[in-house]
């Protein structure tokens, strides 16, 4: 499989369960090594690098199953992002604290900044992950199903947040199940099925493409089904 993301793009990846989306992110971020092929970022190969070095290059990601540092406060979670990223080493706690204000505000967690992260709702945790990634000042943000399990209201919320982040100049790759989110947000969509590319194009192309609809809603069962 091959694809490329250009600076400033809002790139969506969709595909049914088990299509290999999360594996793709794990490959990019160094949690799993590719068995063959190359991954390049800003023209340099990054495959085989450990995750922390990939983070230092300016790639940030969220996890499908949220992984907040539960016993730390929300702000401390975000500060951790600010402290250990590319430029984090030269940052004082005070600066990091100041830096964490903006991401917290963007995702709307300022009011809950001193709550332990474990006490947040699922939506809160997803927002926290986003804020944490933003604090690392990434050039490229990889989002793994940030909408999963959120209420409609939360989804709308998060969507406008993402729009703002994108507008601020970030390149975003997002994996999503909630297709309308992809349709609304992305300028490019990539459809995966069983570990292979099924289709790519603009959102409108995708949702009207028969093969995609089939992959999503399933093929009608023809042979021998008797119901």
């Amino acid at each position: 499989m091959s694809f490329e993301v250009r600076p400033g793009q809002f790139f969506g990846i969709i595909g049914a369960n088990g299509a290999g989306k999360t594996t793709l992110l794990n490959l990019i971020t160094g949690y799993a090594p590719p068995s063959s092929g190359t991954i390049e970022f800003e023209g340099e190969p990054i495959h085989g690098l450990p995750p922390y070095r990939i983070a230092h290059r300016g790639i940030g990601r969220t996890f499908q199953i949220t992984q907040p540092f539960a016993e730390m406060s929300v702000r401390d979670n975000v500060m951790t992002g600010a402290l250990f990223s590319r430029n984090g080493a030269r940052r004082s706690l005070k600066e990091a604290r100041a830096m964490s204000e903006e991401p917290l505000r963007l995702v709307g967690l300022t009011d809950q900044a001193d709550v332990p992260a474990g006490a947040l709702t699922l939506g809160g945790k997803k927002k926290l992950e986003l804020a944490r990634v933003l604090a690392t000042e990434p050039k490229l943000i990889l989002l793994d199903e940030v909408m999963g399990g959120l209420t409609w209201g939360e989804i709308e919320d998060l969507m406008s947040t993402l729009r703002r982040i994108h507008a601020a100049g970030a390149t975003i790759v997002m994996i999503e199940h909630v297709v309308h989110v992809i349709v609304d947000l992305c300028d490019h969509v990539f459809v995966l099925n069983f570990g292979r590319e099924l289709f790519r194009g603009t959102p409108q192309d995708v949702i009207t493409h028969p093969e995609v609809i089939e992959a999503y809603l399933g093929k009608p069962i023809a042979a021998g089904a008797d119901a």
Partner: protein
């Protein structure tokens, strides 16, 4: 409310107690303070590693190594007191670094067992190289320049205060963020740019060096060392009983726990010393009781108590999500 005021004054009181008892205290007080300070060092050291998600079952490795380093340096090269302590600090740091390197990505019980194996391995070395260590019959410290009991007691006080200061400094530094993140989720922490091995090595080195220091001062205090007791699992266990009893992952917990452990230990030993087996039986039962009924430690217990009282007085409404599990 003024909890902060209370805790600051408690810290100051503890600090003064540690440093002034050797000057003004009665022999009993000096003795209890010495042992408490020793345990404070070990407990804080253990808690530092635990805070980064590294549970040690072999803290006696550092303690014993420190003791042997001090006695070897002094007996073979006539190293003076303070310099021998420095040597132990370095030895402990090196062992800590080595531990971080060999354990690599090991976590949880596997890390714990490796530390246990390191401690047992060092014990075997100490037993099997009698020409170097004195072997199982032990060795006496033979200083040409014994600095006096006062200096040794003071050194342990300084070590305890210093260890607490290190822990405090870490709690106010970026390291604190890295350690907590690693403890919560070493995998996810990497995506924020944290290189786990680096911080692992840092914390095991710091933790190991101060634990070694405790072992070194103990040797100067007792003047004798032997492998069975230098690498005794009991040391490991008390250095984790204390933080868990007091409140794990906190600054004050290990200190509170060390005081409580020493006092309970002394009370049962003196109160029940005339009945064979009774003192450690009671100690064991107290330990069980604490795990069962004070899972958050003394600190957590106090917090809960205060919380409940303030809740009762303010009668805060139940949180909205009370219906969930």
């Amino acid at each position: 409310m003024n909890m902060r005021y209370v805790s600051v004054s408690l810290w100051v009181a503890g600090l003064l107690l540690a440093l002034l008892t050797p000057v003004f205290g009665s022999p009993t007080m000096v003795d209890i303070t010495f042992r408490t300070c020793s345990l404070v060092v070990l407990a804080v050291s253990w808690n530092l590693m635990a805070s980064a998600g590294l549970i040690s079952l072999g803290h006696s490795a550092f303690f014993g190594l420190g003791g042997y380093a001090a006695i070897l340096a002094t007996n073979s090269a006539g190293t003076p007191f303070w310099l021998s302590l420095l040597g132990s600090l370095v030895a402990g740091a090196i062992l800590g670094l080595g531990l971080a390197l060999i354990t690599g990505k090991m976590r949880g019980i596997y890390f714990a067992i490796t530390t246990l194996a390191v401690s047992e391995g060092l014990r075997v070395i100490a037993v099997m190289l009698p020409d170097l260590t004195g072997g199982a019959k032990g060795a006496y410290l033979a200083p040409d320049n014994f600095p006096g009991a006062f200096t040794v007691n003071m050194a342990m006080g300084i070590a305890a205060v210093g260890t607490c200061l290190i822990a405090w400094a870490i709690s106010r530094s970026r390291y604190h963020f890295a350690f907590r993140a690693m403890r919560a989720n070493e995998g996810a922490s990497q995506m924020l740019g944290i290189y786990p091995l680096k911080y692992r090595a840092a914390i095991t080195a710091i933790s190991g060096s101060v634990a070694s220091l405790a072992g070194a001062v103990e040797v100067w205090h007792g003047g004798y060392i032997d492998p069975a007791l230098a690498f005794d699992l009991h040391i490991t266990i008390t250095s984790q009983i204390a933080p868990i009893l007091g409140g794990i992952y906190t600054l004050s917990g290990p200190v509170l726990g060390a005081v409580a452990t020493t006092l309970i230990g002394d009370a049962t030993r003196i109160g029940l010393g005339h009945i064979e087996g009774a003192s450690l039986l009671v100690f064991g039962l107290i330990l069980v009781g604490c795990v069962l009924y004070l899972p958050q430690g003394i600190r957590g217990g106090i917090a809960q108590f205060l919380d409940r009282r303030s809740k009762r007085s303010a009668s805060t409404p139940m949180p909205a999500d009370a219906g969930q599990r």
